[in-house]
């Protein structure tokens, strides 16, 4: 062909593109963003400029039968280099002019920085002057020296005047950059400030996980999906939000795995499914319970599958015994029968009881939490009687061996009321001489699900009977055809039977971000327990929201919370903090009658907050209405003051200025608008600047009994908001001081995730440009200035009285047996005993002039004490000596003045990266459980992963008993395989997985067993012409990771160039909205002005605004003149009292483990066209 040209010569122009491709340097780094990706990337530098990034492809192969991890990444990560030199990169320290001028003026005038700060903040006119200016531009450059001095002055003034517990720091997700996380938390821990939680606050914490397993969250790595043979994806948008892992999801189909997608909209993950089920948003619990009904009936009652039966007997609380209690003339499921009810044994309140068919008598088996805290090697899952040591055969049901059949009341919430169902019981006399009815958890579970058994009345006849929890019943609620539910439930269980549990449910934000997420998840987990899928490779649950997995956790924890120096850090669940300090509690209308069918202790959730805080269940700082440096020098002195009411808890008078939070550091985060549920309330009450809160309905005023009501609600509580950032995001825009932080291509750090088992480094491709500095360096420098100044303002050491809650995985988790109800109702007992009927009081001596030295060296407690993580004690004196050698030392202490050294120390002090540490941990746990883990610990002693190792190539972690999964033997990691295969108890009351929960507050809300509760319906606007009222969903977006990348030009160009809201096309038509039209989205909480995306992908009555779209990019003012809020402008925090439980086995506080979750899916909005 004449026109087809094959040129041989004259191609030298081709150099044009070759030159463009060439580069000078390439380094390995990753993205420190909360996406759970933790992908290894190579960063390319040309002429000293970062030009691009491409994925590393050198992941070790786990197993030749399983697809490799390469190439991990996504379009968002691929676009990061755009930020490096972007026009809104923070290049210098900035302070808002309104504040800086006041500061310079005062400092000039009186020359004393601390006094200068006092003169500004204690003068209402001056302080409101800069507080009202927040968010409205006016940043001016300041020098580092100037901002260090300003911040130090503010810190010192606040510590002296109000106390260190008025200083807070919010930073999320250590796993995504452990050193940067630790920079601020270590500083705060050393000065006595408060470290705030994130995982629960983001509502990513599946609160069912601590409830069922006593585990924050543990999940399979994504490669383990490849072992599954049936996957239900139930609310996690794998291709969109787990992009680097999605290939396992698509590839496993070729291995013959069926995929069912459950999603209210045609989400991306539906594309890959064989079947799409679309329940109405928020009704997933009903769907799951109907599936559980089918499975329990067909695989446990009509036909008993041996594998399933043995599984629930061994690994769940199904055979444990529960007392039926009388309440208003009804019999309701009450608390577990305890060993102390039938015998006198050590810690008998914390040991549960089964009925043993071998001996035809009651038995106290090994494994309950009571055994965990007594050293008799009986904390294990062996089915043995703890007293005789004989093998037992626990009865799952009393049917056939029952003394009697009684009718039990089970609450229902679709229509409020009870269902009466007969249950077989035995009658026994307790040690207190009381005759009680008892039955098994399994009998109660079947009754609750409505699975009919011969001879019992009150049950549905068949699947078409419309009572809880049949397939026909769910059809009315979810809209899903009953046949579909029956088919999928049957297939799913059948698959598990054939594969011994390789049925997997992927869950995520879609099912977890609801107010009743705990119930939805417990319903799903119930299915998985019934089919023996938990703790099996290829089976179980896989919850993916939030990069919660810090693999080298011990080392990180030690450094992050300065456990090498101080015995306690003030930890705060952020949901609770926000609820109280942004005054959202005042507006909370979700009263107890909306949550419970029977009578409750209080009417308003805020009263439960006070109960919880004073009992030491959950923390709330500031702790007392006085400076903790001035309350005394001994525990007795403090108790005395509390008892005499000389001092009281701050929670009781939360809106008193003396109890305000004063200083807030935010780093690695966009707190106000990305995760800030009720963001407009933040603006109003915390910051005191313009906001669009229209809510005038302060409901709490009429219902709250134990919290002092102050009118009007305070505005502008916070004196100083400091943000460390690399870009001007929404939170930075509203901060008083913005500090230029190094990006992920400019520092050393470590990243890990639950999605894979590798540990990744950050390494700098260039040094931080302009005046940027790494987070570590910023806090080290601040510590230096602070210490210098402190030595002038504090003439001696101070004693800080730290009030801490009862912690999970410590002996304090068995503080409140809750055997009798009234105990909980006594708010303040006359005689207070820390650790018994209140939290703990720890005295910490602080030398503020030494904070810098402590910050940059590893403290002596590492070698002198045993530190405990997850209940496993270890001493690190050997590693301490090694680190001195490795990192250099100061005053005979290992030096960690630089980020790379911190990273090295973290790796050395953790079991998952230092085999020697892991071996000692296994030994400790062997001693505790009487079990044998030698085949796991053998041969790992030699493995020590150093920072240079992970720069060279991604390294897979080592097994350690801190983890519940196993990687040895080329296995993919899956949660709880260690428990199932080695009989290690879960860290729960029974030591098993819990179908049943018996705490008094759980019982109050009728949630002993998973029940269906509909989503909240808070509708405060009326339906008028041109206004659409819709359910407002905020899933994770495609062109962003939270708010990061959302403002990145690459990502903005690839979709609509700014924030949008998705609306069903018929709904849009009904209010005259066309694609790309501007709309106002509003309710009592605030207003959003954004553009509409019209689509047939969205169901009617639901709108989707992908989470965390910035209010800095292409938004407009609404008709009322207020600037558009972020997606969180229309949300608000609500609190469920069950989230406040503490001191009760798995219901005990730990940071990000148990506490109020900031849910947001239960929001209803109005939408109208912006004319």
């Amino acid at each position: 062909m004449t026109w087809q040209k094959f040129e041989k010569g004259g191609r030298d122009w081709e150099q044009f593109y070759r030159n463009r491709w060439q580069y000078d340097k390439v380094v390995r780094s990753t993205h420190g963003v909360n996406c759970t990706g933790s992908c290894s990337w190579m960063i390319y530098v040309k002429d000293g400029i970062i030009i691009t990034e491409m994925q590393a492809l050198d992941y070790p192969i786990i197993n030749p039968e399983i697809p490799p991890y390469e190439p991990r990444g996504c379009p968002r990560g691929a676009s990061f280099s755009w930020y490096e030199y972007s026009p809104h990169r923070i290049k210098y320290p900035y302070v808002r002019r309104a504040l800086l001028e006041l500061w310079r003026e005062e400092l000039q005038r009186i020359k004393d920085p601390v006094k200068a700060w006092e003169n500004i903040v204690e003068n209402p006119e001056k302080s409101m002057q800069y507080k009202k200016a927040r968010g409205k531009g006016g940043f001016v450059r300041a020098s580092w020296e100037e901002v260090y001095e300003l911040i130090s002055a503010a810190l010192i003034y606040t510590i002296k005047k109000y106390g260190p517990d008025r200083i807070f720091g919010f930073t999320p997700i250590p796993a995504m950059s452990m050193v940067s996380y630790s920079a601020g938390t270590r500083f705060l821990s050393l000065i006595g400030g408060v470290v705030m939680s994130f995982y629960d606050w983001y509502a990513d914490l599946p609160i069912a996980s601590p409830q069922v397993w006593g585990e924050q969250t543990d999940v399979p790595e994504s490669a383990d999906w490849y072992n599954s043979t049936y996957i239900i994806d139930w609310g996690t948008n794998i291709p969109q939000t787990r992009t680097p892992d999605a290939h396992f999801y698509t590839e496993v189909r070729y291995r013959g795995t069926k995929i069912v997608a459950i999603a209210p909209d045609y989400a991306e993950y539906v594309k890959f499914a064989d079947l799409w089920i679309h329940p109405k948003p928020g009704t997933d619990g009903a769907l799951a319970l109907a599936m559980a009904h089918v499975i329990a009936k067909e695989f446990h009652v009509d036909r008993e599958v041996e594998y399933f039966k043995n599984y629930i007997k061994k690994y769940t609380d199904a055979p444990f015994l529960v007392i039926l209690e009388e309440e208003d003339g009804r019999l309701v499921p009450g608390r577990y029968l305890r060993a102390s009810d039938i015998a006198s044994v050590d810690k008998g309140d914390w040991k549960l009881v089964v009925f043993d068919l071998n001996s035809n008598s009651f038995s106290i088996p090994n494994g309950s939490i009571g055994f965990r805290w007594s050293n008799d090697k009986k904390w294990n899952l062996e089915l043995k009687d703890s007293i005789t040591g004989k093998d037992i055969e626990p009865a799952l049901t009393f049917l056939g061996i029952h003394d009697k059949v009684v009718s039990v009341s089970f609450p229902r919430f679709d229509e409020k009321g009870y269902i009466e169902r007969e249950v077989p019981v035995k009658v026994i006399k307790t040690t207190k001489g009381k005759n009680v009815y008892i039955t098994t958890v399994f009998d109660l579970l079947l009754a609750n699900l409505g699975v009919k058994r011969e001879g019992l009345k009150g049950y549905p006849e068949n699947y078409d009977d419309e009572v809880p929890y049949t397939p026909a019943w769910q059809e009315k609620i979810t809209g899903v055809p009953r046949e579909l539910v029956i088919q999928v439930a049957r297939e799913f269980a059948q698959n598990a039977e054939e594969t011994k549990g390789k049925s997997l449910v992927l869950v995520g934000a879609g099912t977890n971000h609801w107010f009743h997420s705990d119930l939805i998840y417990r319903a799903i987990i119930t299915i998985l327990m019934l089919i023996g899928a938990i703790g099996v490779n290829g089976g179980g649950w896989a919850h993916y929201v939030g990069q919660e997995k810090v693999r080298p956790i011990e080392g990180w924890n030690t450094i992050a919370f300065a456990r090498d120096w101080v015995p306690a850090t003030r930890w705060q669940s952020t949901g609770l903090w926000v609820y109280m300090h942004t005054d959202q509690w005042r507006y909370d209308e979700v009263l107890m009658d909306k949550l419970a069918v029977g009578k409750t202790m209080y009417t308003h959730p805020a009263d439960y907050v006070r109960l919880s805080v004073e009992k030491g269940w959950q923390p709330l700082y500031p702790q007392f209405n006085t400076n903790p440096l001035h309350v005394g020098n001994s525990v007795d002195e403090v108790i005395n003051k509390l008892e005499k009411k000389d001092i009281s808890f701050a929670v009781a008078d939360i809106d008193n200025p003396i109890n305000f939070p004063r200083i807030l550091f935010v780093w690695r985060s966009n707190l106000l608008f990305s995760s800030g549920k009720g963001s407009e309330y933040f603006l109003k009450h915390l910051l005191g600047t313009e906001n669009s809160v229209e809510n005038r309905d302060e409901v709490a005023k009429n219902y709250v009994k134990n919290i002092r009501w102050r009118d009007p609600a305070p505005e502008g509580k916070l004196d100083l908001l400091i943000d460390l950032n690399f870009r001007m995001d929404s939170t930075a825009l509203y901060s008083d001081i913005v500090l230029p932080a190094a990006t992920w291509y400019e520092k050393y750090d470590i990243s890990s995730t639950d999605m894979h088992t590798f540990v990744h480094p950050f390494t700098p491709a260039i040094d931080p440009p302009w005046e940027a500095k790494s987070d570590w360096k910023i806090f080290v420098n601040l510590a230096k200035k602070f210490s210098e100044m402190a030595s002038k303002y504090f003439d001696r050491k101070v004693t800080d009285v730290v009030y801490v809650p009862l912690l999970h995985d410590t002996a304090d988790e068995i503080a409140y047996p809750m055997l009798t109800d009234p105990e909980a109702q006594v708010l303040m007992e006359e005689k207070l005993t820390p650790g018994k009927n209140m939290g703990k009081i720890i005295l910490v001596e602080r030398d503020y002039s030494k904070v810098y030295e402590m910050m940059i060296t590893l403290g002596p407690l590492v070698k002198e004490k045993k530190l405990m993580y997850f209940g496993i004690e270890n001493n690190y004196s050997k590693e301490y000596e090694e680190l001195k050698e490795f990192l250099g030392s100061l005053d005979d202490r290992p030096l960690i003045d630089e980020d790379k050294k911190v990273a090295e120390a973290i790796l050395r002090l953790s079991g998952s990266t230092n085999g020697e540490v892991s071996v000692r941990e296994y030994k400790y746990l062997e001693d505790k459980t009487g079990l044998d883990f030698r085949d796991l610990s053998e041969g790992i002693e030699e493995i020590k992963i150093t920072f240079n190792d992970i720069i060279a190539q991604p390294r897979r972690v080592i097994d350690s008993p801190i983890e519940s999964g196993i990687v040895k033997g080329n296995r993919t990691y899956s949660a709880f395989t260690f428990n199932v295969e080695y009989y290690v108890p879960w860290r729960t009351l029974s030591g098993r997985q819990h179908f049943y929960l018996d705490h008094i507050l759980i019982r109050e809300e009728g949630e002993q067993l998973p029940v269906y509760k509909p989503p909240l319906e808070i509708v405060k606007t009326t339906n008028t012409d041109g206004v659409l009222i819709a359910r407002y969903l905020t899933p994770h977006g495609k062109w962003q990771i939270h708010s990061t990348f959302m403002d990145n030009l690459r990502m903005l160009t690839l979709f609509r160039g700014g924030p949008v809201i998705w609306i069903n096309e018929d709904d849009a038509k009904s209010i005259g909205v066309k694609d790309n039209d501007w709309v106002e989205v509003f309710n009592e909480n605030g207003i959003i002005v954004t553009r509409a995306v019209v689509s047939n992908r969205i169901p009617r009555g639901t709108v989707i605004m992908y989470h965390a779209q910035e209010r800095t990019i292409y938004v407009k003012e609404s008709k009322n003149g207020k600037m558009s809020g972020s997606h969180n402008a229309v949300t608000r925090v609500h609190i469920k009292p069950t989230w406040l439980i503490g001191g009760y086995a798995q219901f005990s506080f730990a940071l990000n483990y148990y506490g109020p979750v900031g849910t947001q899916r239960d929001t209803i909005v109005s939408i109208r066209r912006l004319e």
Binding site: Q487, W1062, N1096
Partner: protein, 494 residues
């Protein structure tokens, strides 16, 4: 027979995540300069939808590709040389900015530098063309994930052909992703249309390039390419297009968009084809036959005659071995699971696609023992729709490809669960058990080195050319030192 080598790609749409990591990879490397902002050498389209540029497949609108004259000869759809000359200064079939989008950025700096006022500052969009404030009304991926709804769906040229048979309500929603780069066609219309002789197809690997020195900016390539994968750089006045990352490819690295494909859907390898029969293949009377002819001229790399002929044409052993090792040949010719995009455009594209499976359609009640996986006729994405895209309307070819994917899944499930293999299932796929085993490995667990078999360029052959055409190192020119290419002095000819 004249055997030549060419890189060929296969994209498995059944795995495509629509994530656009490929798009960003390409943008970072090649098109983030002035004048290239709107260029997406690699883009991903949600289908059904109008695509990028809008309705690019509608050749009534754009006149791209080839048509067959009455006497069976190939002719460019934009017309012959004379017709094109007449349109030199006004080509009515070129896409305009309204078919692409007006590239934009934002007033980011305002967020930092805004002086204090009574309002929160916002970064607002400004045009990269005019520098003025603008409202955003279109983008390169405007209809992502069915954004735009029915209106956008009905603009899909492949949907239009189905004449209202498509339901676009919520219950019947369906979507797929279509990632696209230059097809580096065997019969490239862009090359044929270039009046300046700037466009060429590299003999050694088939990459189609536009010489940036020779290009005179006539833009016939833009019009002639039926895939609209040549773009006009409005700053330099030259056309630019996907270069298959030849600077990477020549050094044995995979192109950036392939490298960055986190869905692992992309395969690239060398195939051997008969250059003498390209015209024959492209000019089949019935467009449905083009695929068969296209496949016919792609030759068996194990055939001795083919190898002999290839060597005579200067193809080196490593290229021949690469052609033997790549799974691409098997996917297109042995297993027949991959198909070309719009064969009826007659350019013989060299990026092929495995069509996607999709969930069971709504309201079909099937017993799971009969239909554990959806059968082909019950899938949401209409077969006819896929056929309009990949087989010039031949639904059988689509069904066969999809049946093989489903057959593979049934086979693997039976094997994995230790059940008896149902011979009927294997038979249905028209493949052997060995084929299924290998197909499984290629589709599911293939590693980097399995998906990409890339021989490096034979630069030693070009050394003489370097000697003649490149200046030696450090020439003292009029403006100081010019051109510093790195060479070893031993390679000099003298």
């Amino acid at each position: 027979m004249k055997i030549l080598a060419q890189f060929m790609g296969v994209f498995n749409l059944d795995k495509c995540l629509g994530c656009n990591a490929c798009t960003v990879a390409c943008k970072n490397l090649w098109t983030n300069r002035d004048g290239t902002e709107y260029m997406y050498w690699n883009n991903v389209e949600t289908r059904p939808g109008p695509g990028y540029p809008l309705e690019w497949e509608d050749q009534e609108k754009y006149r791209g590709g080839w048509i067959l004259t009455r006497d069976g000869k190939l002719k460019l759809a934009i017309g012959g040389r004379i017709a094109r000359l007449l349109e030199l200064f006004h080509n009515p079939y070129l896409p305009t900015i309204d078919d692409y989008f007006e590239p934009f950025t934002f007033t980011y700096d305002n967020l930092i530098s805004a002086t204090q006022s009574d309002k929160q500052p916002v970064a607002e969009p400004i045009s990269l063309v005019s520098g003025k404030k603008m409202e955003i009304r279109l983008g390169p991926n405007w209809n992502d994930d069915l954004a735009g709804g029915s209106e956008a769906i009905l603009k899909d040229p492949n949907i239009k052909k189905l004449e209202n048979k498509i339901k676009t309500d919520f219950e019947n929603a369906f979507m797929m992703y279509l990632p696209r780069i230059c097809n580096h066609c065997l019969n490239p219309a862009c090359v044929a249309a270039c009046p300046a002789g700037a466009m060429y197809k590299r003999e050694e690997d088939g990459i189609v390039l536009n010489d940036q020195n020779k290009c005179r900016g006539w833009r016939f390539c833009v019009a002639a390419c039926p895939y609209k994968k040549v773009y006009y750089n409005w700053v330099t006045g030259k056309a630019e297009k996907c270069i298959l990352c030849y600077p990477r490819l020549e050094t044995g690295q995979i192109p950036a968009c392939f490298h960055e494909c986190v869905g692992r859907i992309r395969y690239l390898g060398v195939v051997l084809y008969d250059a003498d029969r390209v015209e024959w293949a492209a000019s089949a009377r019935d467009p449905k036959e083009i695929i068969d002819r296209h496949l016919e001229i792609i030759q068996n790399p194990f055939d001795e005659n083919v190898i002999k002929n290839a060597k005579e044409n200067g193809i080196t052993d490593d290229f021949i071995e690469a052609a033997q090792r790549t799974p691409v040949y098997k996917m297109i010719k042995v297993w027949k699971i991959a198909l070309p995009l719009h064969p009826e455009f007659r350019t013989l594209p060299m990026i092929w696609y495995i069509p996607p499976l999709s969930p069971l359609v709504e309201n079909i009640r099937v017993k799971s023992d009969e239909e554990f996986f959806p059968i082909v006729d019950h899938m949401r994405i209409p077969i006819e729709y896929l056929a309009n895209m990949f087989t010039a309307g031949d639904t059988e070819k689509i069904k066969e490809a999809l049946k093989k994917l489903i057959g593979l899944r049934i086979y693997m499930r039976q094997k994995r669960l230790g059940k008896k293999i149902d011979e009927r299932v294997i038979k249905e796929t028209s493949l052997t058990e060995e084929d299924l085993e290998e197909m499984y490995k290629v589709l599911a667990i293939a590693r980097l080195e399995d998906r990409f078999v890339i021989p490096t360029a034979h630069k030693e052959k070009a050394l003489s050319i370097f000697e003649e055409t490149l200046a030696p190192e450090y020439i003292q020119g009029n403006r100081g030192l010019e051109h510093t290419s790195r060479r070893d002095l031993r390679l000099r000819r003298k």
